[in-house]
Symmetry: C2
Subunit: 393 residues, 2 copies
Amino acid sequence: MKKIVIGQAGGPTAVINTSLVGFVESSIKNNLLYGVLNGYEGLVKDNLIELKDETLDLVKKHKYIPGACLGSGRYQLTDEKIEIAVNNLKKNDINALVFIGGNGTMAALQKIKNVADRIGYELQVIGIPKTVDNDLGMTDHAPGFASAAKFVAFSARDISKDLESMKNFEQVRIIETMGRNAGWLAAASGLLKESEEEGPHIIYLPERKFHTDEFLVDIKNLVKEYGTATIVVSEGIKLDNDNNIQKAVVNGRVVLGGVSKRLEDIVKENLGFSARGENLGMNQRSFSLATSSQDRIEAYDVGKKASALIDNNETNVMVTILNSDIKGYDYHLESCLLDKVTSLGEKALPNEFINNPQKYYEWLRPLIGGDLSPYPSVPGGKTNYAKQCCIFK
Amino acid sequence: MKKIVIGQAGGPTAVINTSLVGFVESSIKNNLLYGVLNGYEGLVKDNLIELKDETLDLVKKHKYIPGACLGSGRYQLTDEKIEIAVNNLKKNDINALVFIGGNGTMAALQKIKNVADRIGYELQVIGIPKTVDNDLGMTDHAPGFASAAKFVAFSARDISKDLESMKNFEQVRIIETMGRNAGWLAAASGLLKESEEEGPHIIYLPERKFHTDEFLVDIKNLVKEYGTATIVVSEGIKLDNDNNIQKAVVNGRVVLGGVSKRLEDIVKENLGFSARGENLGMNQRSFSLATSSQDRIEAYDVGKKASALIDNNETNVMVTILNSDIKGYDYHLESCLLDKVTSLGEKALPNEFINNPQKYYEWLRPLIGGDLSPYPSVPGGKTNYAKQCCIFK
């Protein structure tokens, strides 16, 4: 019987609660479970609730609901605050700490573990991967990403179809996706494309340098060829010589978003086309109707795996998803040391995918599950995916 | 055997192609069908294609795809252009003209009919209703609306759940929906709400006067009570004494969008909360994963009904959907004179719904079909909808 604290951190996903429920349902029988409220802030403020009876039922009820039901949030952990957090855990005789999160979370867990070691406090520390950006290293992908990718892919396909009908009114749409430094999500937007004429036509990634002049030439050529241009940009692309994008800073973190509106203005001013910037916004990480069935299954399983790691007395590790890519898709779960994850930093979209979009989509398709038909109401509807028709820049 | 022209006009919906296919499949056997490209522009430019063989197959293939596959668009019809359009139809010996559209389309059809009558050209004119705004009179509702409402309802619920988890980072989200003069779509955002704590908390409609001062007090009180505030605004609300919203004019039409960003700034400046404006954008009228199954059925049926009206030699009418509201939901189709539709103008959300949100949701729920569970992955998942918990302003 261990006393375990579980928390959620960073931006939520459509399936972060599924991972929580996967963990809780696996470990509740033989352990005392506590939830920490509002992520790391709750550790520092010693804000724990025991998960039993009503609180346990409430958590279970959230299995299919977006958002982080324990509260997540963003919170700057200083060295001093980490000391406080560790002392709080020690005071409560906690044996294990589990957090569901991304790169920042894995780094924080490692720091907590270091402080605990230094003061001779035996604390198991386990990370459960979660990110819509898919920028977490050592794992083939992380839960949350596939559902976000599905939302982005359908949005780009459907918004592009809508634009095609409106040629005489509007020529250019610039769709903005999440992805601060990694282009996985932006790149997913071309997944459902069936022909070269269809959008999205070009996808601009944060991994490559963005040149406004080239962008304008691209748009001009696309409108000339197809009558419309549907463009996708990651929120993280950097415009050259441009300081016109409003950036907000909250709790020390720069909030991105706005590059599509700026590009809308640039297209209007320079090319005279009617253009519209579309930021896909918070729906990317939460829209429940776009949840990938495969993502849901894996999200539950990584929670369950974390519980097994605690039973096996492992520590300082993150659950990883490995893709045994021999014939078809078959994932299995392992674990790896936290310092391997943190030393890698944010995982960018690799060149082998940037240079070969079709290869990227072959990798991505099974993650989205058996619900990939772009005609969701057609029983058994099939699709001929276009070969080599998306351009990543 | 009649020669019939069918066209699509105005902003597309997720099911406008379903109506087209409903019409085409019903009338192809006994008639010669032509599609007009890019809405009214195609009438003026005499841009018709015969629907047979490949073109017919292509149309049928679009049954479940968003956007208007014949091309739609916006086009200003002057008296002179209407004369040209009518002369083109006459020259081609067209017996019937069918258009799928909203208020503007019904007015245009009526003008075309008037010119045809004046010159003694016998032309049947039939309108098929379509609008995401639901502002078309004489019909209980119009195809396209329910799918848009479903997208808005899930977005508001899910974005609100996401925000609840991020209390320590972000307090206010302002979600902007379509609805130039009618609040049907904005009001739909509260459909999935299960308790007073959940968002959306307040929905601001274009039918009511918006007061920025009161809005700020509302936000302050909500954050005090719940920690966060999720607000929905129709794109059509008018801020008092505020000229800071960018408006674009395309083809003589003011393109709305941007009020949520302006309100974001106002909240930040006046209350110091972290706030985010979210425009739900073009996904509202196109996102295929949110298509309502009931909307799909009715969209097909109104197309079929238009074909029957032509067989019956009716003219100058629009297909209408009547809700035989005796016990449960049961719709049937009728027709009404175009001038009755146009004389009513844009249909606002009525006071009986504005003053009683619950009554509105009871009316709306069956239109969204049997796919209303907010936990779409739960087999048979049930929901206890909150009573009287949304505020319309």
